[in-house]
C-alpha cells in the first residue's frame, strides 16, 4: 500500500486519543474508545471539487430568479432531488488582470482555485498555491493522503495545450506551490491502490485477511530488527530505529484499517484499469471518491470531469463532436443544443455523486451532511470565453456551514473572496488569496 502521509506514531495515539480527529468518523470504534465520544459530536468537514471545462450555455444553466423559490433550469434539472442541499451562486467573477492577453482556457482552469493568472509561457510554470492545497496542508496532517487530484481524461504534463501556455495550466486545477502543479490521476486502479494498497477488494473479509497477513509479516520483521539491533554497535542502530518506527507507524495504520473493516463499505474490487465506457469510468471514479471520504483516507479531492480546452466526445448522448470546438458555437442552434446537452450530462454526474454521498451514513447523518462539494467552471459562456458570472454550485451540509435550497446572486464578487470564506469554514484564516478583495459573508452561505 502506498501511503504518502502517516504522521501519527502509535505513541501519540496512546497518549491522547482525543486528538485523533481521524477516528470519530469510525462510529464502530466509538463504544470501545470512550474518549472519542467527546469529539464525535463535532463532525468532520471535507472538501470536494468537480470541475467542468469549456464553460456552459448560460441561458440553459442560470436560474432567472433568486432566493429559495428559484426556478430549476434545464441544465440544473438533475439536481432537483437535492434542491435543499444545493446552493447556486451567481455573480462571481474570475477576471484575469489586464496586460496578459490570451490563454483564456489556461487561465480559466489555473485561476479556478488559485485566483492567479499564469504568464504566457510554454515552458515556465508559475501560478500560486491553490485553495484546496492550502486546506490539504492542514487536513493532510490527520489523514493518510493529504489530497487526491483526479480526472477522467489523461493529461499531458509537457508541451503546450492552450496557445502559448504549458499543458499543466489546462490539465490540473491543483497547485501545491507557485511552481508545482499537481498532475491528475485518471486510472482507477492507481487510485484504488493508493487508497487500499494491495488489498484486492473493499470486501471486509478480503481486507481483514490481507491485513492479518501483513500484521504477521510486520511482527516477524519487527523481531528480526530487534535481533539485529542487539548485535550492532550503538552508532549503527539509528537507521534500524527508523525502521522500527516505520513498523510501528504501519501497525498503527493496520489497526485503524482493521477497525474500519467492520464498517459496511461499498464493494469495490481492485479495478484492472480504465473502463472502456465513459460512464463506467465516471462511476468508478465517483465511488473511489466516496470511499476515500468515508474511510477518512483524505479530506480534500479535486476532480476534473474534463481538462480545460477538452476535446472529449460524448457519442453516448448523441454528441459525437469534440467538446471544445463545438463550445465555440457561434450561436448556431444545433451546436448550442449539443453543448447544453453536455452541460446537463455533466450535471447528472454531479447529482450521482451527491446521491452516493447521501446514501452513505456518517456519524449522526450522512456523508453529504459532512462535505462541502464545489461544482463549477472557470468560464461562463463558452463561445466568448467570458470569465464573468461563472457557474458555481456549493452542495452538502459543510458540517453545519452550508445551507442549500437557494440561488444567491452576488454583485461582481471575485471568486477569490469565496475561496477565503470557504477556508474560514475549515478554520484556516488567510488575509488574502490571489486577487481577493475581501470575503463573502459567511452568513449568506449558512443562513
Amino acid at each position: 500500500m502506498i501511503i504518502s502521509k502517516l504522521v501519527i506514531p502509535r505513541r501519540t495515539v496512546l497518549r491522547g486519543l482525543g486528538s485523533m480527529l481521524a477516528l470519530p468518523l469510525l462510529d464502530s470504534m466509538v463504544p470501545a474508545l470512550s474518549a472519542l465520544q467527546k469529539t464525535a459530536a463535532k463532525p468532520i468537514n471535507r472538501f470536494g471539487v468537480m470541475y467542468v471545462p469549456n464553460g456552459m450555455i448560460m441561458k440553459n444553466y442560470l436560474p432567472l430568479t433568486e432566493g429559495t423559490g428559484y426556478e430549476m433550469t434545464p441544465t440544473l434539472a438533475a439536481l432537483a432531488p437535492f434542491r435543499e442541499q444545493v446552493l447556486v451562486l451567481s455573480g462571481l467573477e474570475c477576471i484575469p488582470p489586464p496586460g496578459r492577453p490570451g490563454g483564456a482556457h489556461a487561465k480559466a482552469s489555473t485561476r479556478f482555485l488559485t485566483d492567479i493568472s499564469p504568464p504566457t509561457s510554454e515552458t515556465w510554470l508559475d501560478a500560486g498555491i491553490s485553495m484546496d492545497q492550502i486546506l490539504a496542508q492542514e487536513t493532510g496532517k490527520l489523514t493518510q493522503l493529504a489530497s487526491l487530484e483526479l480526472a477522467i481524461e489523461s493529461g499531458e504534463t509537457a508541451g503546450a495545450c492552450d496557445t502559448g501556455f504549458a499543458c499543466p495550466y489546462t490539465n490540473t486545477i491543483s497547485w501545491k506551490s507557485q511552481n508545482t502543479p499537481l498532475p491528475t490521476q485518471n486510472n482507477p486502479r492507481v487510485v484504488f491502490e493508493r487508497l487500499f494498497g494491495d488489498s484486492t477488494s473493499t470486501d471486509p473479509k478480503v481486507r481483514l485477511a490481507r491485513l492479518q497477513q501483513q500484521r504477521s509479516v510486520l511482527d516477524s520483521i519487527g523481531d528480526e530488527v530487534a535481533h539485529l539491533q542487539g548485535v550492532l554497535p550503538q552508532s549503527d542502530r539509528t537507521k534500524l530505529t527508523e525502521y522500527l518506527d516505520a513498523i510501528r507507524g504501519v501497525e498503527q495504520r493496520i489497526q485503524i484499517a482493521e477497525q474500519q473493516s467492520e464498517r459496511e463499505l461499498p464493494l469495490v474490487d481492485h479495478p484492472a484499469g480504465i473502463p472502456a465506457g465513459w460512464e463506467d469510468h465516471m462511476n468508478l471514479m465517483l465511488d473511489l471518491q466516496v470511499l476515500a471520504f468515508q474511510c477518512d483516507l483524505t479530506r480534500v479531492i479535486t476532480f476534473m470531469v474534463g481538462h480545460e480546452h477538452s476535446g472529449m466526445t460524448y457519442p453516448q448522448i448523441g454528441v459525437p463532436d469534440a467538446h471544445h470546438p463545438i463550445s465555440h458555437h457561434q450561436q448556431e442552434p444545433d451546436k448550442v443544443a449539443k453543448v447544453a446537452k453536455i452541460n446537463a450530462y455533466h450535471m447528472q454526474m454531479f447529482a450521482r455523486m451527491l446521491q452516493k454521498l447521501q446514501a452513505t451514513p456518517d456519524g449522526d447523518g450522512t456523508l453529504l451532511d459532512h462535505v462541502t462539494m464545489m461544482y463549477g467552471a472557470g468560464i461562463a459562456d463558452s463561445n466568448s470565453h467570458s470569465p464573468i458570472d461563472i457557474p458555481m454550485i456549493l452542495a452538502g451540509g459543510g458540517a453545519g456551514h452550508l445551507k442549500g435550497g437557494r440561488h444567491v446572486r452576488f454583485k461582481q464578487m471575485p471568486l477569490a473572496n469565496l475561496h477565503l470564506t470557504l477556508l474560514d469554514q475549515f478554520g484556516i484564516h488567510r488575509d488574502r488569496i490571489g486577487d481577493s478583495t475581501g470575503r463573502v459573508d459567511a452568513r449568506i452561505l449558512s443562513l
Partner: protein, 835 residues
C-alpha cells in the same frame, strides 16, 4: 604524461584565483583552530617532511595565517608541520588550497612554480604517511538498498524485470548527486508500506500465482516523440514509428494488446487521411496487422484542424474512433517479452513545400490529415483465459527443487527458501531464520492448500526482511571501539557487487567469499575483472556516470521552443544514448580515464548526426564515428552535457565552467550568493551585444570576480556550442569569440584549447574521478582521512596510464573500501529489544 614544465606553468595558471568566500567558509567549517592542540611532539617513526615545506609556509603563508592575524581563522604558526596527523583535517584543507592553486591570493607574493609544487607534494606525502601509519577507514552506516539496487536485486534473485518506479518512491541524492549514500537513504512508514506491498506483488509474480487478477498497464508515448522514421534497432526494418515495450508477463495466459493512436488537442486522430498498416509483434513475431485510416466519409474539417469548423457527423465520428479496434488477444508465456508496435513504412515523399516540424501549441493542435499517424498509448491487459504458472525463468530460478510427494514437501520448501534467503541476505542463514521462514511457508500451505502458495509466502517474507533491504556489515566480536578492522569476506563481496553491479553478489562471488578467498589479492582481482566483464557492470554507466556527469538532469530539460524548434524527444534520447554508449565503450575497452576527454570518437545515429552537421549517417542505429575535426569526440563535444549546462534559452559560460571545475578538476566553486540580478537581454538598447560583453559585469564586481574568473573562462572556450550543443559561429548577431584567459595570462581557445588545458591537468582529473568513484563505491561522502586513499588510488594507477580497471582495482583494495572502524558499544543478540 604532461611534461613537468608545462604542468608547473599551468598549475597556478588554471586556478590562481582566489575565492575569498570559499576559503573562509571552508576553513570555518573545520571549526576554530584549537591553539592548545597546535603544537605536538613529532609522532615517533614518521619521517620528517622536506625542509622546503616549513620554509615555504613560513615565508608565504604565516604572514596572514598566524596566531595574531588569524586570517580565515587559521594560524599555521601554531600547527606542527612535523606532525600533520595531529591536525590532519586542517592540513588537508591547506593541501587542497595549494593543490588547486588558490593560495596565496592574487597580489600576494608566491613561490616559483617548482618550489610551490615541491611544497604541496611534500605536504601530501606527509599526510599520506600519517594515514598509512594509522589507517582511518571511516564507517558506513547501515545502508538501505536504493530503488535501482532493489530492482537489480529482484532481477538477479527472481528473474523478474520490474519497473521499480511503479513500486517504490524515489530516493534522495546527496550533494554530489549520488543516490546510493547510506546516510541519506531514509526509511519512512510510507516506504515500508511500499516494501511490504512490493514483496507481496513480486513473490506472487515469481511463483506465478494463478489467482493474479487481470490488470491493464498502459504505456504512454510522449507527443514530442516524432514517429516518422524507424525507432530503434529492436523494431523491424521497414517499420516506422511506434514503440517497443519490455513487459513482465505474470503467467502463461492470454493477454490483450491495445493500441491508441496519437490525437491532437480536439481529439482528432492524426494522419487518418489515407490507410496505414500497423503491426503488433511479440518477441519480433507478428501477431496482428491492422489497416487504419482512409475511412472518413463526407466533408472534412479544414485539414490543419485549426479552426472550430467541423466536418460532417460521419467524418467526425470516424476521426475520433478509427483506432477503436486496434486490439489483439494472444497467448503469451510467463516471463519478460518484447511487445513491438509499429507502422509499415511507406516510401514516398510528401508533395509540396516541406513544412517545418510543429512545436509547442502547434504540435498538440495542427497536425496534418495526410501526415503520418503515430502511436500514443499501448495497453497490455491480462492475464485472461485459463492462466497457468507455466515454466517461467522466475520459477526455474526459485524452485530449485520440486517435491515428489506430500512427504518431501517440507524438505524441498526448506531447500528453496534457504537458497533464496542466502542469496537475498548475501550470507549464510541461521537455523532460526530458516524455521521462521518455514513458519510462513506452512501458514500459506495450509491457508491456500498448495505448495506454491507456501513458497510464495516464504518468498514474500524474505523480500520484506531487513537483512535483504539493508546492507548490514558485521564487525568482529570483541573488537574495541575506534579500532580499524578488515571487512569480512562476505561484507566485502557485498560491497563489490553493489559497487560494480548495483546488485547482490552472484553465487560465484558469494561462494568465494564464504570460503575466505577474497582476502587473497589475486582472487579478489580475478573476481573484479570477471565482474567488470559481466553485462551487469552496465550499472556503473547507469548509476555512477550519469550522476557524476549530471546526465540525469537531461530528462528535465525544457529548451525554449521558439529558439530551438528542432528539439524533440528523439534528440533528447539520442543525446543521452551517445554519452552512455561512449562511457560504456571506454569502460569496456578499459581505456585510460583521461580518454574520456581526448577520445576522437563517439556514437551517433541519424538524428544526432544531423544535429552535429555530420553527413552520411542514416537510420536510428547508433554506430561508432571517428572525428578528425577536434570538435566532437570525447565528453566535451557531447550535446547532452552541453545542454544540461545551459539555460532553456541560451548558453551559460558559468554553468559550464562550474561543471568543469566541480566534475573534471575537483575544485567546485562555492554556491552563488543570494539576490543576483538577471543578465540583461541582448540588444535592449538596439545594439547587438555578445554574451561575453554582458558577462563583463562578473569581472567588474569584485564579489563576483573572485569565483567567476575561475569559471567563466572555461565556459567561454565552449561558446561555439549553443544551448543544445549545436556548432555555431555567430550568436546574438556577433561572431563567437571562444578565446579565454585566466588573470595570470594563460590563454586557450575553443574546445580544442580547453581539451589541451584539461589534459595538462590529467592528475587533477584522475584524482577527481577517483574521489567521485570512491564515494560512489562506498556509499558515503568522503572525509579528511579518505584523501590519502584517493591520492594512493591515483598514484598506483599511473603505471597503467590510469586505466579504468587500475583505478577500480585501487578502490577495492583501498582502506575506506576494504576496512571499517569499529563502532561503540557492541550489543549482544537479544530478541527482546523491542519496546
Amino acid at each position: 604524461m604532461p611534461a613537468p614544465a608545462v604542468h608547473s606553468r599551468l598549475l597556478p595558471a588554471l586556478l590562481t584565483l582566489l575565492c575569498v568566500a570559499a576559503v573562509s567558509a571552508g576553513l570555518a567549517a573545520g571549526g576554530a583552530p584549537n591553539d592548545a592542540d597546535g603544537i605536538r611532539i613529532q609522532a615517533a617513526g614518521a619521517p620528517p617532511p622536506d625542509a622546503i615545506l616549513p620554509q615555504t609556509l613560513d615565508k608565504y603563508c604565516v604572514t596572514c595565517h598566524n596566531a595574531t592575524a588569524k586570517t580565515a581563522g587559521l594560524s599555521i604558526d601554531r600547527l606542527d608541520v612535523h606532525d600533520v596527523a595531529a591536525n590532519a583535517q586542517r592540513w588537508e584543507q591547506i593541501a587542497t588550497k595549494l593543490r588547486t592553486g588558490e593560495m596565496p591570493p592574487p597580489g600576494r607574493p608566491r613561490p616559483d612554480a617548482a618550489t610551490y609544487r615541491a611544497a604541496v607534494t611534500s605536504l601530501e606525502r606527509a599526510l599520506d604517511d600519517a594515514a598509512a601509519a594509522k589507517p582511518d577507514p571511516g564507517r558506513v552506516p547501515v545502508h538501505r538498498l536504493n530503488r535501482s539496487e532493489y530492482a537489480n536485486a529482484i532481477r538477479d534473485l527472481l528473474g523478474l524485470e520490474i519497473d521499480a518506479r511503479a513500486l517504490l518512491s524515489s530516493d534522495e541524492a546527496d550533494q554530489e548527486g549520488f543516490d546510493n549514500v547510506a546516510s541519506v537513504l531514509s526509511v519512512s512508514p510510507a516506504l515500508l508500506e511500499n516494501y511490504l506491498s512490493a514483496a507481496r506483488t513480486l513473490s506472487r509474480l515469481a511463483v506465478g500465482d494463478p489467482a493474479l487478477r487481470p490488470v491493464v498497464d498502459s504505456f504512454k508515448i510522449s507527443k514530442a516523440l516524432v514517429q516518422d522514421e524507424r525507432l530503434g534497432d529492436d523494431l523491424p526494418f521497414g517499420s516506422r514509428g511506434g514503440a517497443l515495450i519490455r513487459y513482465q508477463f505474470p503467467l502463461d495466459a492470454e493477454y490483450t494488446i491495445k493500441v491508441l493512436l496519437r490525437r491532437q488537442e480536439y481529439d482528432y486522430i492524426i494522419g487518418m487521411g489515407e490507410p496505414h498498416e500497423l503491426d503488433i509483434r511479440v518477441d519480433g513475431v507478428r501477431v496482428a496487422r491492422f489497416t487504419v485510416g482512409g475511412g472518413a466519409k463526407g466533408m472534412s474539417a479544414p485539414e490543419n484542424f485549426a479552426g472550430n469548423t467541423q466536418g460532417v457527423p460521419e467524418w467526425e465520428e470516424y476521426m475520433h474512433t478509427a483506432d477503436a479496434k486496434l486490439e489483439v488477444r494472444v497467448p503469451v508465456k510467463a516471463g519478460p517479452h518484447e511487445i513491438g508496435v509499429s507502422f509499415v513504412n511507406r516510401f514516398w515523399e510528401a508533395e509540396g513545400v516541406l513544412q517545418p516540424p510543429q512545436t509547442g501549441f502547434g504540435r498538440t493542435t495542427n497536425e496534418y490529415y495526410h501526415g503520418n499517424p503515430a502511436v500514443e498509448v499501448v495497453s497490455i491487459g491480462g492475464p485472461y483465459g485459463k492462466p497457468d504458472a507455466g515454466d517461467s525463468a522466475s520459477r526455474r530460478k526459485l524452485f530449485v527443487c520440486q517435491p515428489k510427494d506430500a512427504a518431501s514437501e517440507d524438505a524441498c520448501a526448506r531447500t528453496i527458501l534457504s537458497t533464496l534467503a542466502t542469496r537475498a541476505y548475501r550470507r549464510p542463514v541461521t537455523e532460526s531464520e530458516i524455521q521462521m521462514l518455514l513458519g510462513f511457508y506452512k501458514a500459506g500451505r495450509q491457508a491456500q492448500g498448495s505448495f506454491d502458495a507456501g513458497i510464495q509466502r516464504g518468498t514474500e517474507r524474505i523480500l520484506a526482511a531487513p537483512s535483504f533491504l539493508f546492507r548490514i556489515e558485521h564487525q568482529p566480536a570483541g573488537i574495541s571501539a575506534g579500532a580499524a578492522y578488515r571487512l569480512s569476506d562476505l561484507d566485502l563481496a557485498s560491497r563489490l557487487s553493489f559497487f560494480l553491479w548495483s546488485s547482490i553478489p552472484d553465487d560465484e562471488l558469494r561462494t568465494a567469499a564464504a570460503r575466505g578467498q577474497l582476502s587473497d589479492r589475486a582472487t579478489l582481482q580475478h573476481q573484479v575483472q570477471r565482474m567488470l566483464r559481466d553485462p551487469r557492470s552496465k550499472a556503473l554507466v547507469d548509476n555512477f556516470a550519469t550522476r557524476w556527469l549530471e546526465l540525469s538532469k537531461l530528462s528535465g530539460v525544457v529548451p525554449d521552443t521558439e529558439l530551438y524548434p528542432e528539439f524533440d524527444e528523439n534528440l533528447r534520447g539520442a543525446m543521452e544514448q551517445e554519452t552512455k554508449l561512449f562511457v560504456a565503450s571506454q569502460l569496456h575497452d578499459d581505456r585510460g580515464v583521461a580518454e574520456l576527454l581526448t577520445a576522437n570518437y563517439s556514437f551517433l545515429n541519424a538524428r544526432l548526426a544531423a544535429h552535429y552537421g555530420i553527413r552520411n549517417i542514416y537510420g536510428d542505429h547508433f554506430r561508432r564515428v571517428e572525428f578528425a575535426d577536434g570538435v566532437r569526440g570525447g565528453l566535451l563535444g557531447q550535446s547532452s552535457l552541453l545542454t544540461v549546462t545551459s539555460y532553456p534559452n541560451r548558453t551559460s559560460v558559468t554553468m559550464r565552467g562550474r561543471w568543469l571545475l566541480a566534475n573534471m578538476l575537483g575544485a567546485p566553486p562555492p554556491p552563488p550568493p543570494a539576490d543576483i540580478p538577471a543578465l540583461k537581454e541582448p540588444g535592449v538598447d538596439g545594439q547587438p551585444q555578445s554574451l561575453r560583453d554582458r558577462m563583463q559585469i562578473h569581472r567588474k564586481n569584485p564579489a563576483c570576480a573572485s569565483c567567476h574568473q575561475r569559471m567563466d573562462p572555461l565556459g567561454f572556450a565552449l561558446e561555439n556550442f549553443d544551448a543544445l550543443g549545436k556548432w555555431r559561429t555567430v550568436s546574438d548577431g556577433v561572431p563567437i569569440d571562444a578565446s579565454a584567459s585566466f588573470p595570470d595570462g594563460t590563454r586557450f581557445e575553443g574546445v580544442a584549447g580547453l581539451r589541451t588545458l584539461l589534459v595538462s591537468h590529467k592528475e587533477d582529473f584522475v584524482r577527481t574521478l577517483s574521489a567521485k568513484l570512491l564515494a560512489y563505491a562506498i556509499g558515503r561522502g568522503l572525509a579528511t582521512p579518505d584523501m590519502a586513499a584517493v591520492r594512493k588510488i591515483a598514484r598506483d594507477a599511473a603505471a597503467a596510464d590510469y586505466s579504468w580497471s587500475s583505478i577500480i582495482a585501487g578502490i577495492v583494495t583501498s582502506t575506506p573500501f576494504s576496512m571499517a572502524i569499529a563502532g561503540e558499544d557492541q550489543g549482544t543478540p537479544t530478541g527482546k529489544a523491542r519496546q
